[in-house]
Symmetry: D2
Subunit: 238 residues, 4 copies
């Protein structure tokens, strides 16, 4: 699990400083499972080279964090051939609750990118809607309960309410201890923008969520849980 | 169920053209249930006048549409005193699946406004994330299934997928026959902006969703289901 | 010069508390010049009533601030009949450098609204572009000079650079002493959103500028000059 | 003048297919002027390699289009050492009206990126403000004239009004024949987003302008002048 495409390419393909590249070392038919969250192109490049060397490679970005790892409830979103997926699944299913075959090589990364674009949108949207209600005198617990059972329902309201005091188990009620750090949300939203730039896709909502996190992180919140964006809206009332 | 605050004020309070106003006609202790979706201030004004006249008034905006009415599965989001709510609930529970007491007079309107702000955000976000995946070669059914079981989960992915062919029962798979018309989504998002202007609240995500719907509606989509925003992203690929 | 439409309507038309209304007091053919910045509908209502009473009324919002008043270099943007404009211009030209006839009653307000929507957009855009350059090691004076003579040229770069130290006369180089307060920029952008809601117009750029100012004002910057938004971008780097 | 960093790197540095790279061919002390508009990192890389080979390199992106080239009124925004700039300027001043020394290697690209981010913001903002006024019955010529002499003043209103019929010389009054194509505006705004992603800078206004152009281009307007975004707002009124 490496931070970015450049690292993954260097590890698997080698580099200009004498690094040999894992693809050149391992035996034929070795299964390579890469759980980094990186740009899809890097994953596709490595997968292609792996195929040329008769190796099996899947991109298998993960979510669920440390808690998910401890509880073996991680989610793996896998890209690769049916054969490679089948072999990877045999292992990953012991570590996770959900193992998805998203498509061909690189599609694991891409599906996670799309999911996390949605996550940034729904978290910022939930922070915004709850704060608007609070500004108008609504009780956030009452409002959250209503929205959870109405068409505003989403993962944050279900499992990760960003308003302190509404959900005991959520980081919001634990000083925003991560969880999932704001700086990682920013990284993932950046991957979403990169992908959109590649295909000239319009991503106004995801871009705006990304820019809100950029503001939030730069003022010292980068290492707090990403639900702390709630404070970016709230603290503003001084 | 009237379209706007001006109508509600005229009906209950009377107007300058000889209209008497319902509050001046009904007997003491009459319970008045107003199911319009309007600005909270109008609801508060009428509730206040009702109280002066020893009448019980609740603002009780509803969601669920024609389908929900037929199936008696509507959601009512009620604002008013405990006494007024208790009496209203005795009636509304026969028409709906959920009857929420959001708070005092006007809070029914405000809670619905917050919910529908979130709805506009999650629907536009879902359209955006699915289209980005499609632009990168992902199968929308596969991607939707992954997101539905991951942190991108939200009401649209659960019950109202905006991509044609993914969910048989959704308007997207029925020529976007409403459902809930885009023009009504625009109206509700407008109420959200109004509320935010009142309290100087920042609502960047909801404002952007509102403006996307303004573009979409003005090009002939106003009477299609609001999930047709999917096409605003998709058709753009010509 | 009153703060909002409600005040203007009360002063000219009277109210429910015994206030008579200026239109009922003044002599026939009196010229009324209202320099408030308010919603166009209120201006149109008063102008209409004035016409019924054989009075001349113009909406004539102003810009240029205290400095402009002292130097007689104010700008007036006038709405009203040709006759009313002609009479108003005879007076206003002594107080201002520019007196524009924007159109019929209410158009003075509307033209100012459009101008100030653009102002919010160009000021936030200039803050954003300069900060991006600074983040990449560019000298803001050098960058400002280049943009001023290129296609990025705009009123802020010409007369009101928001980066401290670039332009001696600008509020940015004087602790952001107003000038034109951020809270007034927020008010004007709110009038722009109101106008857009009325006609279902899409205003994504102006809405976003409005929401940035809402964030900025709520954290204690409301009474600083509106160019202080530069700090909203900059301080974020901690 | 090449389309992207990858091409520039290949031409100057060589590639993996036998291409030698210009830096390896030219004589010592050759002055290399690269007028591509590309990412700053590629420019910095080539400049660094050039320096190692005792060559002089400047990044010198240009604006002014075909018309500017014919009239020798181009603008060059140059990055490089003082020595390299001085030598480049001796040549460029014959081709352009403005030759700016933006800073060190790569700063020419970065300054142009910042300028064009501002350009996308002011053009979309001008389209938006003018359309809002038109939606409220204002004459766009009258409104443009007012804004041009007020605080809404910007390069588009000065030289490139996007509303058909307002300015005879502008592309808007010539079927939006470019000029500067929408697809090039989208490219440049993409470079702006890339730069922002590198430094974690927040660019909400520029991102939104980018996404509006992404919508606009994908529906067949990519080869029209970038001021045709006016129609994206206008046509929406069907």
């Amino acid at each position: 699990m490496l931070p970015a495409g450049a690292h993954v390419r260097a590890v698997y393909l080698g580099d200009l400083h004498g690094g040999v590249g894992l693809l050149n070392i391992v035996q034929d038919n070795t299964l390579l499972i890469d759980c980094s969250t990186i740009d899809p192109d890097s994953a596709r490049l490595v997968a292609n080279e792996a195929q040329n060397k008769r190796l099996l490679f899947v991109d298998s970005p993960v979510s669920g964090g440390v808690a998910g790892a401890k509880a073996a409830t991680l989610t793996f979103i896998v890209g690769g051939s049916d054969e490679a997926f089948s072999k990877a699944n045999a292992i990953l299913r012991y570590m996770g609750k959900n193992v998805f075959h998203a498509g061909k090589a690189g599609d694991g990364q891409m599906a996670k990118i799309c999911n996390n674009l949605m996550l940034g949108i729904l978290m910022s949207g939930t922070c915004e809607a709850l704060n608007l209600g609070i500004d108008h005198g609504l009780d956030p617990k009452v409002l959250s309960n209503i929205m959870l059972q109405s068409s505003g329902r989403n993962w944050a309201l279900e499992l990760y309410n960003p308003c302190p005091g509404v959900m005991d188990s959520a980081p919001a009620s634990n000083q925003y201890n991560p969880g999932f750090m704001s700086k990682l949300m920013l990284k993932d939203l950046g991957l979403g923008l990169d992908a959109a730039l590649q295909t000239n896709s319009s991503v106004p909502m995801g871009s705006l969520a990304r820019n809100l996190y950029a503001f939030h992180n730069a003022s010292g919140h980068a290492e707090l849980d990403f639900s702390s964006l709630f404070e970016f809206y709230k603290n503003q009332k001084g």
